[in-house]
Amino acid sequence: MQFYVDNFGLFRDAFLTTLSLSLLGGLLALVLGTLLAAFRVSPITPLRGLATFYVETFRNTPLTVVFFFIIFGLPQIDFVIGFFPGAVLAIGLYTAAFVCEAVRSGINAVASGQAEAARALGLTFGQSLREVVLPQAFRTVVPPLGNVLLAMVKNTSIAAGFAVSELSSLLPRLVNANAGELVLVLIGVVVGYMLITVPSAFALHRVERRVAILR
């Protein structure tokens, strides 16, 4: 216990960093991913092409490479970004591709008659997506979207390689300084992640139940 008391500040800061990476990266991924999904089903061919290109690029690139590109590649074209914002950007852009695919599968699961009825009423493409298709798509999408976001929380650990002091960066740091306490460090880090993932899983489960009743 004394070990945790001594290192409480470190654990707390690292936890808060992982939490912020998750929240900000997740927010970016959800907004961008939904927009991309709308592009992918839009009647405008260039938008569809753009979104498809985006998704295929990011889905097939390791996250570490995305980090590397943003933090070391962008400064080459005079776009310098700090480590933390760079990490949020990398995680958000990368995860958006997976959010897009989850949302798109949900859109495809909504009966085509729903969109048709909306268009027949005179709603524009954007309105029928917003008012009719997406609200129904999100219902079927909550479980896969949950998986995408949980994977993202774990992916934030890649930021450790890019000078962001998040939870997993404590492992080498604390183990070097306290060689005998390996197990305690590990437990501390795992508990930190679980403080984020377990409540998220509960929240997702509740959302899933709420939207299911509305059907």
């Binding site: 009647p43 009966a111 008659g113 729903q114 048709e116 009825a117 909306a118 268009r119 027949a120 009423l121 005179g122 709603l123 524009t124 309105q127 008012e131 009719v132 609200p135 129904q136 219902r139 509305l214 059907r215």
Partner: protein
């Protein structure tokens, strides 16, 4: 609704052709529908009735020809098309009520989002329409909680809420249990009596005789015959119409 062009037909299709790949589904269709006219479209399965209906509000695009509504050519895409569609009510075989919205919300969505009515006004009108089609008591339920006949009547109310110039019905009673068919046909008959311009794809001969001004018989993507119901049912001209009628009248 006032109109610039009262003498002209409300809906006019001229020289309309459409293909699904190799399949020539609409062939040289010419059809004019006057204000207040009720046209019933019948014909064998696959003859192009639904496609014709869906071409009128451009749920299906046509390759050749011209379709005008109230003198205005159907726009290609975008906001213009959306605005034109708002004047054309459509009722589908499978109802297509918005599953995540209550009955009341189903009816108010168009008026609020497209016509920019206030929520209070839209709800007041929606309740009147639901009353008219006999489902006012279900206003706060979800579509899945209603019977098929009730859902279809809500779908009619949803279309009426936009004050459409013309209503399209694509086999509105085909998905219904027999005991629910009449409750929907009664609503449609009363609409026809009130002067609504209607295009109705249906095999309900009783409705055609009671409410239609004209029956259009389609086969193989063409309009083969067009006549008032009495003439069509008693003395069909073409062999194909005779054959078709003998088959459906057996049932």
């Amino acid at each position: 609704m006032t109109s610039r062009s009262n003498g002209d037909p409300l809906v006019r299709l001229s020289g309309v052709n459409k293909w699904f790949g190799e399949l020539h589904v609409l062939q040289d269709i010419d059809l004019s529908i006057d204000r207040g006219e009720v046209v019933v479209v019948i014909g064998p399965s696959g003859s192009g009735k639904s496609t014709l209906c869906r071409a009128i509000n451009r749920l299906e695009a046509i390759e050749q020809g011209e379709i005008t509504i109230d003198g205005q050519r159907l726009p290609e895409e975008g906001k213009e098309l959306a605005r034109l569609r708002s004047d054309v009510g459509m009722v589908f075989q499978s109802f297509n009520l918005f599953a995540h919205k209550t009955i009341l919300e189903n009816v108010t969505l168009g008026p609020i989002k497209v016509r920019r009515q206030s929520k209070a006004d839209a709800e007041k009108r929606a309740r009147e329409l639901l009353e008219r089609v006999g489902v006012a008591a279900q206003a706060d339920k979800y579509p899945a909680q209603l019977s098929g006949g009730q859902q279809q009547r809500v779908a009619i109310a949803r279309a009426l809420a936009m004050d459409p110039k013309v209503m399209l019905f694509d086999e509105p009673t085909s998905a219904l249990d027999p005991e629910m068919i009449n409750e929907v046909l009664d609503v449609m008959t009363s609409l026809a009596r009130d002067g609504m311009t209607m295009v109705v794809v249906t095999h309900e001969m009783g409705f055609a005789r009671r409410a239609a001004n004209r029956v259009v018989f389609m086969d193989g993507g063409r309009i083969v015959e067009s006549a008032d119901p009495e003439t069509f049912f008693t003395t069909p001209q073409s062999a194909r119409a005779k054959d078709f009628l003998s088959k459906i009248l057996e049932h």
